[in-house]
């Protein structure tokens, strides 16, 4: 059996490429990285009318074959067949936004000039019609010399015709001169072609201009953005709770089943204390991540995200970044990993590196369990300043501390290690669109799957290793297992280091497994304090709270909170940083500076609190 032929989708950003890709391939997509770089490779299977299956890839959106970002470099190399380990596509589908012909035809000409079998998808013709544009695909076909098929990806219009055209596309010998056109000449040609293809154009008021008048208004626009963000966070945390609770109960029930039916043994302990509690602690954050991504994907698909970047640009410029960094940092409030991956759209490498380095300072959802336990135990639930709860205020302050820390660090980094020309902000603001349910569903499924796979691999491995470290060598008669274990001995060493900032040995012990994921700190403390085993996590948290109150002083607890604002305790973040920066240099730097900050601020908090007599 021969390998299936390869078809690649290529086009400008915002041409509706991904929607067309989803419509052509359905939900069965493979997402991986191009080897050596951190650009996502999306591929799927499509069946041509002849019954021949082909592999379809969705190349990153580009404005030209002359790349200005890592994404664009991949597109350019893959199309030319220069990408190592990746055979050149056998045919290309150029995706054009029908209402943006003049712009998109520039890149389209460049692609067509390569002489490969090529078909043009004149996409989003419905939106063009809404804008009052009447187009003549035949005229465009004449001008470009390749088949042009009008499509509406989200309504599945024109898909069969497109598949037909792809099947019959052949190698062409582009006319002399076509290949050697300069960008300026192509632009002139694009203008003429667009003119010829547009049959009529009415001066209808375009919806997006009206929306922008409100959403990009210098005063109303930012207020709407902040209100929206506030709503998103409310919805994320309120909406996720019942699902997280249900998942927690599920994990607890499973643990109960194992305890009941498996005879007591080390293997059973490994299954319950190691695997189920460790992986389970992470899996309960799935609803939170899904809900946050629902909002992020909706904002992206509707075209609003680019407006948010526009509105935030001035503020980000204040610390040497641009509006483009806003989206990754927003994602980092759920989890730094998708946030760091989202930095790929940042064109400037120094901007991108700075954003990666500060992303872990955004308060991710894994910190919440730690914050919740400590705040519930040590901060009295009383109202201050007319009805505002003190506990909520402390939680809010921890979020703000992370944001302020990130901004200050960005400012310093942009003047030192990531110094360079002031970063710019050049970004197309796409037209507003109703997001297609199918595209949202596919996007959410992909995020959820990436998250679960991570829980099943990295976090699983780390949990098992930590469990082994905590359980070997076995304790002698009358000796505490934790004291005897390798982890316990490590904690003794670590305790010397963290004593000056008010931490005790139990906390040092909790910090070691919490390297895997911050929320593990809670379960480690619980184990260490030998809280009577309870399948109800809430009861466990309550009991743990009482334990903490009797063993920790208030300054110690506050120092522990300050520590977690900064500490880079998440293996996966370090791993993803290594992957995204192609080496150990920057993850090492990230670890060093974040631990440094955590140590200094925990110490400052502790000694200030002690001095204040708290």
């Amino acid at each position: 059996m021969s390998k299936p032929r390869k078809i690649a989708l290529v086009g400008n950003p915002n041409a509706g490429k991904s929607a067309l890709f989803n419509a052509l391939t359905g939900a069965r997509q493979k997402i991986a990285n191009y080897p050596g770089v951190t650009v996502e490779r999306k591929s799927g299977r499509m069946v041509l009318p002849s019954g021949e299956p082909v592999e379809m890839t969705d190349l990153p959106g580009s404005y030209s074959l002359d790349p200005t970002s890592p994404d664009e470099a991949v597109t350019s190399k893959v199309i030319r067949g220069e990408f190592p380990g990746e055979s050149a596509p056998d045919a290309l589908v150029v995706v054009l936004d029908a209402s943006n012909l003049e712009q998109h035809l520039v890149f389209a000409q460049e692609i067509i000039a390569l002489g490969k079998p090529t078909v043009v998808a004149l996409n989003m013709v419905d939106l063009a019609e809404r804008d009052g544009l009447v187009l003549d695909p035949a005229a465009l076909e004449q001008a470009l010399g390749v088949k042009v098929v009008p499509t509406v990806a989200v309504r599945r219009r024109g898909l069969a015709e497109l598949a037909e055209a792809v099947a019959s596309a052949e190698m062409r010998h582009p006319g002399p001169g076509l290949t050697s056109l300069s960008m300026v000449e192509r632009r002139v040609a694009a203008h003429a072609m667009a003119d010829a293809a547009i049959l009529s154009e009415s001066k209808r008021h375009r919806l997006h201009a009206r929306l922008d008048r409100v959403l990009l208004h210098p005063w109303i626009g930012p207020l709407i953005l902040f209100a929206l963000l506030f709503l998103v966070f409310q919805a994320v945390f309120a909406g996720a709770t019942p699902f997280s609770d249900a998942l927690e109960a599920g994990v607890a029930a499973l643990t109960g089943l194992v305890t009941q039916h498996v005879p007591p043994s080390l293997a059973r302990d490994l299954l319950t204390d190691g695997v189920l509690s460790g992986v389970g602690a992470v899996v309960v954050f799935l609803p939170l991540i899904v809900i946050l991504f629902f909002f992020i994907l909706t904002m992206e698909a509707s075209g609003y995200m680019a407006r948010a970047a526009f509105l935030m640009d001035r503020m980000m410029a204040g610390v040497g970044l641009s509006g483009r960094s806003f989206i990754p940092l927003l994602s980092s409030f759920a989890c730094a990993i998708p946030g760091i991956m989202a930095t790929r759209s940042i064109t400037d490498p120094r901007d991108r590196l700075t954003t990666i380095l500060i992303a872990p300072l955004m308060t991710c959802s894994a910190r919440l369990p730690v914050y919740a336990v400590i705040i519930a135990a040590f901060i009295p639930a009383k109202a201050v300043w007319g009805g505002i709860g003190l506990q909520g205020l402390v939680l809010f302050a921890l979020y703000v501390a992370g944001i302020v820390g990130a901004m200050v660090v960005a400012l310093i980094l942009r003047r030192s290690v990531t110094k360079g020309a002031a970063s710019g902000f050049i970004m197309e603001l796409p037209k507003y669109q109703m997001p297609a349910v199918k595209d949202l569903a596919i996007g959410l499924w992909q995020r959820a799957w990436i998250f679960l796979r991570r829980a099943g691999t990295i976090i699983f491995t780390v949990t098992v290793v930590l469990w082994l470290l905590l359980n070997f060598p076995r304790a002698h008669e009358g000796q505490n297992q934790v004291d005897a274990s390798i982890a316990g001995k490590l904690a003794n060493g670590l305790a010397v280091v963290v004593e000056p900032i008010g931490f005790n040995r139990d906390m040092a012990l909790a910090l070691i497994p919490a390297m895997a994921a911050r929320e593990v700190a809670v379960s480690s403390l619980a184990t260490t304090y030998a809280v009577a085993a309870s399948d109800d996590e809430n009861a466990q948290a309550m009991a743990l709270g009482d334990q903490l109150k009797s063993r920790w002083s208030l300054p110690t607890a506050l120092a522990f909170l300050a520590w977690f604002v900064f500490a880079p305790q998440c293996m996966s973040t370090i791993a993803v940083t290594r992957r995204e920066t192609n080496g150990w240099k920057w993850p090492a730097f990230m670890l060093a500076y974040l631990f440094g900050l955590a140590y200094v601020f925990a110490g400052l908090t502790y000694w200030t609190a002690v001095a204040l007599g708290l």
Partner: protein
């Protein structure tokens, strides 16, 4: 007159671009978006909370956000 001096709603034609003051990659990106000699642009929106940055340019049927520094490198004639 340069593009950064325009108020929202004003349209102009770019007559010359001082590419040398722009970062090479940004210059290429602007050209790829069609922001180049001879292009007709309109300032659609600019600034947040009374600031002058960034600027949303309408070019053809597209809207592109740029910074004031980019606009300052472009000589324009009002239309």
């Amino acid at each position: 007159m340069t593009l950064d001096l325009l108020e929202p709603g004003q349209a102009a034609r770019i007559t010359a671009v001082h590419w040398d003051v722009l970062v090479e990659e940004e210059a290429r990106r602007l050209r790829a978006l069609g922001i180049d000699d001879g292009a007709k642009v309109r300032v659609a929106h600019r600034g947040v909370f009374g600031g002058r940055d960034p600027i949303a340019l309408a070019i053809g049927r597209m809207t592109v956000a740029v910074r004031r520094a980019h606009a300052a490198a472009m000589e324009v004639e009002l239309l």
